[in-house]
């Protein structure tokens, strides 16, 4: 059996990245926005891992560890901010958060 070529992984990561970006831009629910951010970062991880595997270079894999750690910190802070906002104004919908004018 042959290995799956690099292009397939990169295409998958590109698709995931697009889904994540669109999710962040289009969804209104803040929790889902953060889930979409996680999808974006995971697509980055997939790209890094497959490049590293394909090129035989480990530094890409190291990058993935850091991306994972940062993603956790980012979503923790994001959720904490959502929690603070929810206590103030009983909503998690981004478009209902609009005291500041545009």
């Amino acid at each position: 059996m042959n290995n799956i070529p690099l292009e397939y992984y990169i295409a998958l990561s590109g698709i995931l990245f697009t889904i994540g970006t669109l999710g962040v831009i289009l969804r209104r629910n803040a929790i889902i926005v953060f889930m979409s951010l996680e999808i974006m970062l995971n697509s980055v991880n997939l790209a890094f891992i497959s490049f590293a595997r394909y090129l035989g270079d480990t530094s890409g894999e190291i990058f993935v560890f850091f991306v994972m750690a940062v993603a956790a910190a980012e979503s923790a802070i994001g959720l904490a901010i959502i929690l603070a906002l929810f206590r103030k104004k009983q909503t998690i919908y981004v478009d209902e958060v609009n005291v500041l004018k545009h």
Partner: protein, 142 residues
């Protein structure tokens, strides 16, 4: 070819989907149809379900969850360390001790600020006056 690699997966998916579909379809043909309200109710270990399932959980679940996420995922950085630990010796050991110390300070912070406490609500013992007022209220509402 790559096709064979994916082909096996594809065949697996198709067979799996067919298996479920055929099973459900035959069951629908054979089984008697006799729905009663009791059968249609959500199953909750034999209890009769009360209220809406869309309730909000206590905020504290989120706070504990957030703290957990951080400490859980930071441990991922231990994996690359464990690979090079033997070659680099004391240097890597000290580096990791410092890293973990900083994490522990974070935990200490959480602890000292009381975010890890699950504060139990004080049981309110009903007083006689309150009972009377409550009864009056109930009567008025009725």
């Amino acid at each position: 070819m790559y096709l064979t690699t994916f082909g096996i997966v594809l065949v697996f998916f198709i067979v799996g989907a067919l298996f479920v579909a055929v099973g459900l379809f035959t069951a629908a043909l054979v089984r008697p149809k006799n729905p009663t309200p009791e059968k249609l109710r959500t199953y909750e270990s034999g209890e009769i379900p009360m209220g809406s399932p869309w309730i909000q959980f206590n905020n504290r679940f989120y706070i504990i969850g957030l703290a957990y996420i951080i400490f859980d995922v930071e441990l991922v950085l231990l994996f690359p360390w464990s690979v090079v630990y033997k070659t680099l010796g004391w240097y890597s050991f000290i580096a990791m001790v410092i890293f973990l110390m900083i994490l522990i300070i974070g935990l200490v912070y959480d602890w000292a600020k009381g975010y890890l406490e699950w504060d139990k609500p004080n049981p309110v013992i009903p007083q006689l006056n309150e009972l009377i007022i409550h009864r009056k209220k109930v009567n008025k509402e009725n």
